[in-house]
């Protein structure tokens, strides 16, 4: 669909809205509204106390002939990706205002993070975004290392890059699967899980766990890559592109899929930036912002990859961005395999990382270090730091404050899903309720990360 056609459609929508009970009302041109007013007007904030919705008898119906209806979706709806609840104000089948209600999975992980030492911290953060656990561990480890003034060895950096890119692939493939399920393409769901399984088995072989690995730790990674890892990784990157081509064939040109996604849930680049949206949402609207390219961390400035950008900013573009990011991640993983340096997989500072198991049997000092690290942990100099990386969902940040003790004084995770959820009201606005499913799915919220 071209931009003009979309504009045409938007204009029609606007005209539909202009028919009110007071007669047709003329609306000003969209360009004249400033972004803030627009955000409020588009229902970023549904200013209705929750109590009113819970007790329908209390709602003052002042809508006259064109009555609107408030319905509640979730928190146990199969297409809300967990326990997301959305209040939606409908007129007929058109969504007017909406409000995501979150917190059903809140377990106080930031508070827990203040009770755990820096050594234990990674086990906590890895449980936030359970589809991209390695990214969470990475951002926490980078923050701790920045405060410590320790730099991970080159091999650790490349292992981290290899693992997080594989994780990005598994996360996007998982998204393709759930998105397929939401749009009634059940085969896609089966295929997505099949491909994810390949990557998860490699994770299991390397880290010992399929999820919540605690593999990337301050100072490096927990263990070196297993023998024969090149073959496993090459098997993955040789299979996945072919499979991605299959998805492409199955969905990209498929009329039903296109009908359901094209022109649905459009966000302009200005609004996306104003709403602090990052990741595929921002890139699909045409802003080439990827932290891997814009503010390189690890060794992303040494590998070759493209930043995928959309044009319209609709659900279809967000799908296309993620699909192609799988291909780009494959490219990065291949380069990691080719360029993987030899050397240590964690820093040899025995105050930060434990000594090798074999040393404990022969050295008293090694035993003491081992004991100290796993009971008391290490002290981190006082200070504060904010590190950010590009997770599959957007900018994942960690704000860490240390008071000089062995536990973080404050550990705040800037969760991309939490911030991206704010774009739902403008995305849903003016669309059909049936499209809401496609739009919610395209935002890719992970509730573990939203609620923390």
């Amino acid at each position: 669909m071209t931009g003009e056609e979309l504009g045409e459609e938007l204009r029609e929508l606007k005209e539909l809205r202009a028919e009110t009970s007071e007669g047709p009302q003329e609306l000003r041109d969209r360009d004249e509204t400033n972004p803030v007013e627009l955000a409020i007007e588009q229902g970023s904030v549904l200013r209705l106390p929750e109590g009113l919705v819970l007790d329908p008898g209390d709602i003052d119906v002042e809508f006259g002939e064109d009555e609107t209806m408030i319905i509640n979706m979730g928190p146990q709806h199969p297409s809300t990706h967990g326990v997301l609840r959305i209040m939606m104000e409908l007129e007929g089948e058109t969504v007017l205002r909406s409000k995501p209600v979150v917190g059903y999975l809140h377990t106080g992980m930031e508070k827990t993070g203040e009770q755990l030492t820096y050594v234990q911290g990674a086990t906590n953060v890895t449980r936030m975004d359970y589809l991209a656990p390695l990214h969470n561990e990475l951002v926490f480890s980078l923050a701790v290392e920045a405060l410590l003034g320790v730099e991970a060895p080159t091999r650790a950096t490349w292992i981290r890059m290899l693992m997080t890119e594989l994780n990005r692939m598994s996360s996007h493939v998982m998204w393709m699967a759930t998105n397929g399920m939401d749009l009634a393409s059940t085969s896609m769901m089966i295929y997505g899980f099949r491909e994810r399984e390949m990557i998860l088995s490699f994770f299991e072989k390397t880290t010992g766990l399929r999820m919540n690995h605690d593999y990337i730790r301050p100072g490096g990674v927990a263990a070196d890559l297993p023998d024969g890892w090149e073959d496993d990784v090459m098997a993955i990157v040789e299979t996945i592109p072919g499979r991605v081509d299959e998805y492409d064939e199955m969905l990209t040109g498929q009329p039903i899929f296109k009908e359901r996604t094209e022109g649905v849930g459009i966000i302009s680049p200005e609004l996306a930036v104003a709403m602090s949206a990052t990741g595929p949402i921002l890139r699909a609207s045409g802003v080439p912002w990827d932290l891997r390219r814009a503010m390189p961390y690890l060794a992303y400035d040494e590998v070759d990859f493209d930043v995928i950008v959309g044009t319209v900013g609709d659900t279809y573009d967000r799908y296309a961005v993620r699909l192609n990011e799988i291909r780009e991640s494959c490219k990065i993983v291949r380069q990691c395999v080719d360029q993987m340096p030899l050397g240590d997989y964690r820093v040899q500072d025995k105050k930060v990382t434990p000594p090798p198991r074999a040393r404990i049997d022969e050295s008293m000092e090694a035993l003491i270090h081992h004991f100290k690290i796993f009971t008391r942990g290490f002290e981190v100099p006082a200070g504060e730091v904010y590190t950010a990386i590009e997770s599959p969902r957007g900018e994942l940040g960690c704000y860490l404050v240390s008071d000089g003790s062995n536990k973080p004084y404050r550990m705040h995770i800037r969760a991309p899903s939490f911030v991206n959820l704010q774009t739902l009201p403008p995305l849903l606005r003016g669309g059909l309720i049936a499209d809401a499913i496609a739009v919610i799915s395209s935002v890719d919220p992970v509730m573990g990360e939203v609620d923390r």
């Binding site: 972004p35 929750e50 508070k111 930036v273 904010y386 004084y409 705040h412």
Partner: protein, 166 residues
């Protein structure tokens, strides 16, 4: 990294600033919060990447640049310039007796959820916020759980002998 710092870009002077592991931090009082944020927004920091609160109850003598009076709460705002690939961090001192700061919603609509989270977990109020309610905790929850004087809840775990096969 851009060569000039954010305060220079925005033409701000008389601000206490510090360097946190190579990251630029500006220290503010509440009076200049909106003014500084507006100036930074106009000089290219178009995205508010993150906003959170910190409770310094047990770490009041933290290192701060000269001239900054430490208060119990701090609002920490991370601004991002997509054009200059640059970040700047604002640390706003908020006293315990009157934990109110103006909202950034009118400058950065994306702070809506973040400010609600800071209010929910720390009890810092944001004047002018369009939806000033709890976001993560239940609506009728008492207290603000991430404050340092809010104790950690514990569930006692009793370890028992594993039951037999029958």
């Amino acid at each position: 990294m851009a060569a000039t710092n954010a305060a220079e870009m925005a033409g701000l002077d008389g601000l206490a600033s510090s360097d946190a592991r190579g990251q630029e931090v500006l220290h503010l009082t509440r009076d200049r919060y909106l003014e500084v944020a507006t100036a930074l927004r106009e000089s290219g920091f178009e995205m508010c990447a993150d906003l959170c609160a910190v409770d310094y109850l047990r770490h009041l003598n933290r290192p701060l640049p000269e001239g900054v009076t430490p208060e119990r709460f701090e609002i920490v705002v991370n601004l991002l310039s997509l054009e200059h690939h640059q970040r700047v961090r604002l640390r706003v001192q908020v006293p315990e007796s009157d934990p109110v700061v103006p909202t950034l919603f009118n400058l950065y609509p994306g702070t809506e959820n973040m400010e609600r989270e800071a209010f929910d977990l720390y009890g810092v109020c944001f004047e002018g916020h369009p939806d000033h309610t709890r976001i993560l905790m239940p609506e009728d929850w008492e207290g603000h759980p991430l404050r340092k004087d809010y104790s950690v809840g514990r569930v006692p775990v009793q370890f028992k002998e594993a039951p037999g096969p029958r």
